[in-house]
């Protein structure tokens, strides 16, 4: 059990001193994973999340920077000496061994006395509901039981600093995914272990973790609770990667307390007087844009499509040459194509070159 610090960590799979920034699979990052936290590393394929995970477990040695476990520098330590457990995308089990032997393997390799091994294996098997299968060949079990065995091999060692999961539910049947995920959450609560969970599935990340770290193009773009990611995306990527449909991000001219979008004025809750140079965009989640009947003073557009998601309806509305996803209020049925959009000013964020810009909220407007 440990706190993990990443200090100015970066990695490139190429070797050399003067590499261009795009050669880095993981761009410089410094962050702290607190002991006992449940973290999710979320991002699309190729964003560097597995690289970061492998650096923490020691499978990959970073090109620069340091990793500290409870303040101790482990950057140069091998995986074996790091007290890390890792569960891989595909279940890794030792084919010729029984479930019991699989669970005992890490302890046997470390020369733990037989009696202690037996006791510990029994405990962990009980925790993971594997007791009835202990004497069966591990190859004969289903994928989810195999994943439990891989997890169990990590848990039997009582000195693990953290458990890393690399998209562990990829090969699990959908109806068992939910079950296994709840099992993980329960284990996290029961064992007070640091868990880091890599996934590209936002549902998995948001339900599992109390802190979600969103990665994009080798960079950590935001780290926060699921609510923070939803309500205040620090980067346009977080906006449209999380949420379904994702955040509306449209080019705009922003002056003071007003944004000009496709010729329409949209009031903002905060004032933006000194904007950095760069591409200016505003972002607002579809949940906070409401379709309304046309009225003077509102942004007007044409409905192209309405998607009924069951308990909620979203319309795709074209305004000039930009498109908005907007919530259709219950009971509202548009008469004709022309509709208006009503924005919640406090939910609109302004982005310069994809990074969020803090406005000054001298007078709070709800």
């Amino acid at each position: 059990m440990a706190r993990i610090d990443l200090v100015d960590l970066a990695h490139s799979y190429l070797v050399g001193d003067d590499l261009p920034p795009q050669a880095y699979a993981l761009k410089p990052v410094s962050m702290t994973w607190r002991q006992g936290g449940a973290y999710a590393l979320l991002g699309p394929s190729g964003c560097g999340k597995t690289t970061l995970l492998n650096i923490i477990s020691g499978i990959v040695t970073p090109s620069r920077g340091k990793i500290l476990f409870d303040g101790r520098d482990v950057t140069e330590l091998s995986t074996r000496d790091r007290n890390i457990a890792q569960v891989f995308q595909f279940p890794v089990i030792y084919d010729t061994m029984t479930v019991r032997e699989n669970l005992a393997f890490p302890l046997k390799n470390r020369g733990v006395p037989k009696a202690d091994i037996a006791k510990r294996v029994a405990e962990i098997a009980d925790l993971l509901d594997l007791t009835p299968n202990l004497n069966r060949k591990a190859t004969r079990l289903t994928a989810d039981a195999k994943q439990k065995i891989s997890l169990g091999r990590g848990l039997v060692r009582n000195d693990v600093a953290a458990i890393l999961f690399d998209e562990p539910l990829t090969v699990i049947d959908p109806h068992l995914k939910w079950e296994l995920r709840s099992k993980l959450k329960a284990l996290h609560r029961a064992l007070d272990l640091t868990m880091i969970y890599v996934t590209h599935d936002q549902t998995e990340a948001l339900t599992f973790a109390d802190t979600v770290v969103v990665m994009h193009d080798g960079r950590v773009v935001q780290s926060g609770t699921p609510e923070e990611l939803f309500e205040r995306p620090a980067h346009t990527f977080v906006g449209y990667f999380i949420g379904s449909p994702g955040m509306n991000v449209v080019p705009a001219e922003v002056k003071g307390r007003e944004a000009l979008v496709a010729g329409h004025r949209v009031p903002l809750a905060r004032s933006y007087d000194k904007l950095p140079a760069g591409k200016i965009e505003i972002g607002v989640r579809p949940e906070f844009v409401h379709v309304a009947a046309s009225a003077p003073g509102l942004v007007t557009g044409r409905i192209e499509r309405i998607d009924d998601l069951g308990r909620i309806r979203f319309a795709s509305v074209r305004v000039g040459d930009v498109k908005f996803a907007a919530r259709v209020p219950d009971g509202f049925s548009p008469s004709g194509d022309e509709v208006a959009l009503r924005f919640e000013p406090s939910r609109i964020h302004v982005y310069a070159d994809s990074e969020i810009v803090e406005g000054s909220s001298l007078e709070q407007v709800a």
């Binding site: 074996r80 890794v92 890490p106 039981a145």
Partner: protein
Amino acid sequence: MDKVVNQKAWFLVLPVFAIVAFSAILPLMTVVNYSVQDTFGNNQFFWNGVGWFKELLDPSSDLGGRFFASLWRNLAFSAIILAIEVPLGIVVALAMPRHGWSVAFCLVIMALPLLIPWNVVGTIWQIFGRPDIGLMGYTLNHLGFNYNYVSNEFDAWATVVVMDVWHWTSLVALLCYAGLKSIPDAYYQAAQIDGASRWAVFKAIQLPKMHRVLLIAVLLRFMDSFMIYTEPFVVTGGGPGNSTTFISIELVKIALGQFDLGKAAALSIVYNLIIIIVCWVFYTVMTNAGAERRPAEGSV
């Protein structure tokens, strides 16, 4: 249930059937025919029943004695080369690089001996081992070893065994290498995390994953070595004495040297049966092992 009857398939099957009959079944039947008859030439045949088989399987007769002697030699030869080639092949496969340009280089080098025709291999070693002009024979003799595969039984055996190891270890190594390459990196990473030693990784991951290709390798090498003819025939001609006369060499001697077609036919059939039975046993073992390995779904 109305099944559509389509006799057209026969037109596709018949040519194959005819070719197989002409090239395999008819010649085989001729052999069966010879094995139950005796001939004094001139195309005159006399019925002999199972006489040749009785004689063949009776170690006290001349034919039986020769058969059993060559059978034991053959089994010993197969056992020795398997005992060398399989572990050596595994070691070579483990030592081969897994990434980079050297992979292609190694594969080509490994494949070279497999591409050389049998009798050329025999000729290479026949010359290589000669004490007067052969590099190996000359060197060994000058280092003080009295090596001569023409007159010394042990030297003859050693030469034939080393030649076979040289010729065929690559096959085992390439098969094992294919098996090793199919192991995902995650297994090695997990083993690292579990603190496994090099030996434990081999025992827990690599050997089980090579299990099936190894069975194939053993099967192929057993059959091939059990049927070996060309190389020892070229190198030692079955000598000195009869010390490297394997079944196939004995068979050719009986059939073409003495022209005892009945005895040779009986020997051929028994020889064939041995190989088929061994293959069947191997096949059964392999498929059973495979069935055991298949995970039973929904059996948590």
